[in-house]
Amino acid sequence: MEKINFDQLQEELYHEKLPNGLNVYILPKKGFNKTYATFTTKYGSVDNTFVPLGKTEFVKVPDGIAHFLEHKLFEKEDGDVFQQFSKQGASANAFTSFTRTAYLFSSTSDVEKNLETLIDFVQEPYFSEKTVEKEKGIIGQEITMYDDNPDWRLYFGLIENLYEKHPVNIDIAGTIESISHITKDWLYECYNTFYHPSNMLLFIVGPVNPEGIMNQVKANQAKKDYQEMPEIKRQFEEEPLHAAKKKQVMQMNVQTSKCLVGIKALHVDQQGNEMLKNELTMNVLLDLLFGKSSANYNQLYDDGLVDDTFSYDYTQEQGFGFAMVGGDTSDPEQLAARLKDMLMAAKSAGSISEDQLERAKKKKIGAFLRAVNSPEYIANQFTRYAFNEMNLFDVVPTLENISLQDIQSLAQEMISEERISVCQVVPKGK
């Protein structure tokens, strides 16, 4: 077990890679009541074309299956794992993103027992035809719930605009039609391919004794007979650099219009420090352009084009990435035009000063301190970073090293008319 110290943050992290390939990380947090643990596989909604374990040909699986699998893993022959956790005073949950599926619990007592339950339930699937059918009703209602949610529709609408081939353009939960094709055999095929320990990461954060916890995990894994796993083969169609669609307008049952402008990212093949630097630089750039202290934000607010729902965000993963900015608006056309102008103007050098950059970096450093108050943030983000060969605790030093030159060249390169797209939700009949 290696121990890594982060002196400035006064944190220490313990790590070991087990013989079966599982990466285990433990971050002791004194003073907290809660222990939070996530067990995550590098498998999400975009992994829909791959060579199943033991086979040689690529298959394409039904949309929404990674998320369906996440639901079904909680069900066992003798009942529901939620019950087991709550008997042990824990609360359990799971989520599926584009690139990850995470199972988690938090508890303030019986941590060892709950950890054992977490590892075992994820590593002992039980799928049956009957329970698969029953789940279709429940997930069907989850899908319908999102269908009525204008912010979700807007977000996915924009991704559809940006991406033509890449499966990031498919809703994580799939559709009622696509999940109707899911069978227990499909679930086992996905499970066997993606849930090998060498494709997973276990993170435990809380008032724990790292040696004891690590020994427990090792003993648990030593009892299980995992064969060495060949490398997983995923397939993605070639994706053009430009946005697939310039614009989409959706009519919905709303009273307030919404508008998001997106930029399709470049360099989505990056990993490690290069990716960390790129991602943080992009985040600082967006803060400078659209943060509450920016001239742009204040002009838009003064002109009545945005309100407090206005936000911006950058996402980058292997194979896809996008920046988004926008929110509720009284005039979606004008807001789209203004945001596009502001983005294009940011390409020209000299619009950002050293002082502004220093402030923006301070703001990000403070935000990072706030974030690491949260065990959830640490576990989930650490895992995401690790799957992309980055280290969460490199954030502050990397931020400190961003120069004005970095910001300007990224703006110059990234912002480009043919990679920009607009998505709007407007009231029906307008």
Partner: protein
């Protein structure tokens, strides 16, 4: 024993609450103001904190103020409005880095206090009112904020349930005020209300973090001084109980129906049976092992979510579930059956133990975050009680099956609200 020590000091016009802990890398400062909910002032109260946080005399534009916050290592400043029982509560929240985790060691806590003081007591004025441009912008945003509830159907259906259920009671007022009352607000009458609120509201200052009580006290007594007052109380028992169950169906263009059911628990925070009510809610619908989740979702496959929650100071319990438009009768029937089962004491010792364990866990987790801790502690301000967290945990632990059944007997179904797709409405 849980190690939370809340040190309370009477200050001029407010109470100071200091919670010293070295758990966090930031310090949190929260200013709360509480007054009875009423139609006349609710919209002004909803606007006021947004006006105050947008600029001040020293930082006369949002850009100036927000740039200063960025400079303070991205200190956050935001405001929040809440209804607790028949009270309307305004919060100002500042979270600021603890410099011991930064490479730059200049102290930040005092700056946080100075900033709060500036926001609360030195607003951007013009003549005898607030700066008119700010008022115009914030009125526009407030209207949009009120309107946007309609677009979030989960929230909308909850608001509609409360409107229908509590018609004629102050609790039916919306937390962000009433759209039709925004226009009449002027820079002058809002300024008058601002002075009124700071002289009559019950005010509390909370500071959580790796701080020294003495230092916090000296900052507070130097910077924040107000007139003493006797806070206004509501009579607190305004409740229009109905003879019959009120059933409301509303048609809209939605794919998923939203079923929201309101009950009167007739029990409030501070009542002797409040802890038994917490356990009741846990067995009935609070968690993923509860009767609602198991029967509506897991057994009948009708919903993705089916849960209940309490409003502790008003004495309400709300059930919410998203279901297919055609499954209304079946869902209502199943939910009613679960309530009947509770009234008959039809729950096992295992369900009881399990629920207590999960609630205990939930409370301990809540106090791991500074905001969660403040929410729990603030209950005592609203209810004028002095229940510490140990008493809370013990009270819940000791709740017996008989007490829970007695609680169930006090609970009455009041209103069933269903937001349904146009197809089913035809």
């Amino acid at each position: 024993m849980i190690a939370v020590s809340e040190k309370i000091t009477e200050m001029p016009g407010y109470k100071l609450h200091v919670i010293e802990t070295d758990k966090y890398k930031t310090n949190t400062i929260v200013w709360r103001m509480k007054a009875p909910l009423d139609k006349e002032n609710v919209t002004k109260r909803a606007l006021l904190p947004h006006v105050l946080q947008s600029s001040s005399a020293k930082y006369p534009t949002t850009t100036a103020l927000r740039s200063y916050l960025d400079e303070l290592y991205g200190a956050t400043l935001y405001v929040d409005l809440a209804k607790k029982g028949e009270y309307h509560i305004i919060s100002f929240l500042i979270e600021i880095a603890n410099e011991k985790f930064l490479s730059d060691p200049s102290p930040l806590l005092r700056k946080g206090f100075e900033l709060l003081t500036e926001i609360l007591t030195n607003p951007h004025k013009s003549g005898s009112g607030f700066e008119p441009g700010t008022i115009e912008k914030e009125k526009r945003t407030l209207k949009q904020r009120i309107q946007s509830v309609y677009d979030d159907k989960m929230r909308y259906s909850n608001v509609r349930l409360i409107e229908e259920m509590c018609k004629g009671e102050p609790y039916a007022l919306q937390v962000n005020g009433e759209a039709e009352d925004v226009e009449a607000i002027t820079p002058e009458n809002l300024y008058e209300y601002y002075q009124h609120a700071f002289s009559e509201d019950e005010m509390d200052l909370y500071v959580v973090g790796d701080v020294k009580e003495e230092e916090v006290k000296s900052f507070a007594s130097e910077l924040l001084k107000f007139e003493n007052r006797t806070p206004k109380d509501t009579n607190g028992r305004e409740s229009n109980q109905k003879e019959n169950v009120h059933e409301v169906k509303e048609n809209q263009d939605v794919k998923q129906g939203k079923l929201n059911i309101g009950y009167r628990t007739n029990i409030k925070y501070g009542d002797p049976d409040y802890f038994a009510l917490q356990v009741f809610n846990g067995i009935f619908g609070g968690f993923s092992h509860s009767k609602l989740f198991i029967n509506v979702r897991e057994k009948a496959s009708l919903a993705y979510y089916a849960a209940s929650r309490l409003e502790s100071h008003k004495g309400l319990m709300m059930v919410m579930s998203g279901i297919d438009n055609n499954n209304y009768d079946q869902a209502v029937k199943i939910i009613n059956e679960q309530m009947e089962a509770m009234k008959k004491g039809d729950f096992s010792d295992e369900e009881l133990t399990q629920t207590k364990a999960v609630i205990r866990n939930q409370i301990l987790e809540t106090i791991d975050t500074s905001r969660g801790l403040l929410e729990l502690l603030y209950h005592n301000v609203v209810a004028h009680t002095e229940i510490n967290l140990d008493a809370w945990l013990t009270g819940m632990e000791n709740a017996t099956k008989e007490e829970i059944v007695a609680v169930a007997d006090k609970i009455s179904l009041d209103t069933i609200y269903f937001l349904t797709g146009t197809e089913a409405g035809k």
